[in-house]
Amino acid sequence: MGDVTPLWEVFIRPRNGLAHKHVGSLHAADEALALSAARDVYTRREEGTSIWVVRSEAIAASDPARAGENFDPAEDKIYRHPTFYKIPDDVGHM
């Protein structure tokens, strides 16, 4: 289908209060048809309350070859996890 129906990435928000989550992709000619197709392909089982579609080519992705330099330096910095605090019982789940 080539350029006539480019690729779109689909994001669905399952419930109010949650973030839109990537669920997959599809081919469509334009925004309206992409939203329509996303509704038909990805919300058949009550998965969502809101849909975003984004042209796949509009997404900039990190380079897998640079995963080492991007992500490994965080490995030994456990102090960045907020696990060293005592949380009063009254606070409950944070």
């Binding site: 081919h27 469509a28 000619a29 329509s36 197709a37 038909d40 392909v41």
Partner: protein
Amino acid sequence: MALYRALIELADDHLVLGHRLSEWCGHAPMLEEDLALSNFALDLIGTARSLYAYAAEIEGKGRSEDDLAYLRNEREYLNCLLVERPNGDFAHTMLREFYFAAFMEPFWQAALASNDKVIAGIAGKAVKEMAYHMRHAGEWIVRLGDGTEESAARMQAAVVDLHPYWEELFSGGDCDALPDRAALRPAWEASVKAVFAEANLDWPEPVYGQNGGRDGMHSEVLGRMLSDMQYLQRAHPGATW
């Protein structure tokens, strides 16, 4: 029995169109539309089931929704001829869907206020489905009509081919529990004209309309469709799984 008959007309419209759309399953031009058409088919067949179940209850002869769908002959089907038209190409299918949904959406909208609670309940669910069918089919009509030379020619050909069939949508049995079909014509025409204007499609000159579906007088294609749809229950009566 005015209500029974009107329910059968409505249910037959939904089942026949739903079955037609299901014939696209696995054959649509792209995966996305294959699923969309199957979704449409399921919406329509779901509504047909509710209507048959209610009709069977009103009839009070112990028949079930399956009996009504699978064990009636062609001449007992009261659907309008539009819904039995063969799928043709994608343009034909989308136009047929739009004509039907543009009628049913205001029909169910009016039926929400029905004094019959079952009808109002069916309407509450169906009105949203029809609004979506209208939008989806309408989007395609605009893109095909205002698309390439070939898509525009095919869309216009579909308009000409289906022109004798839309008027029968406004005929059908009268009963107090259901909206007056003829009164929905201005709303239908406004929806169609808006999409046609955007799609650069011409509304053809009036032609002699084909009808008779409400009296069980069908075109040859319905018999073939029913023989396919009813085969299993006819060959293995009472089969369940």
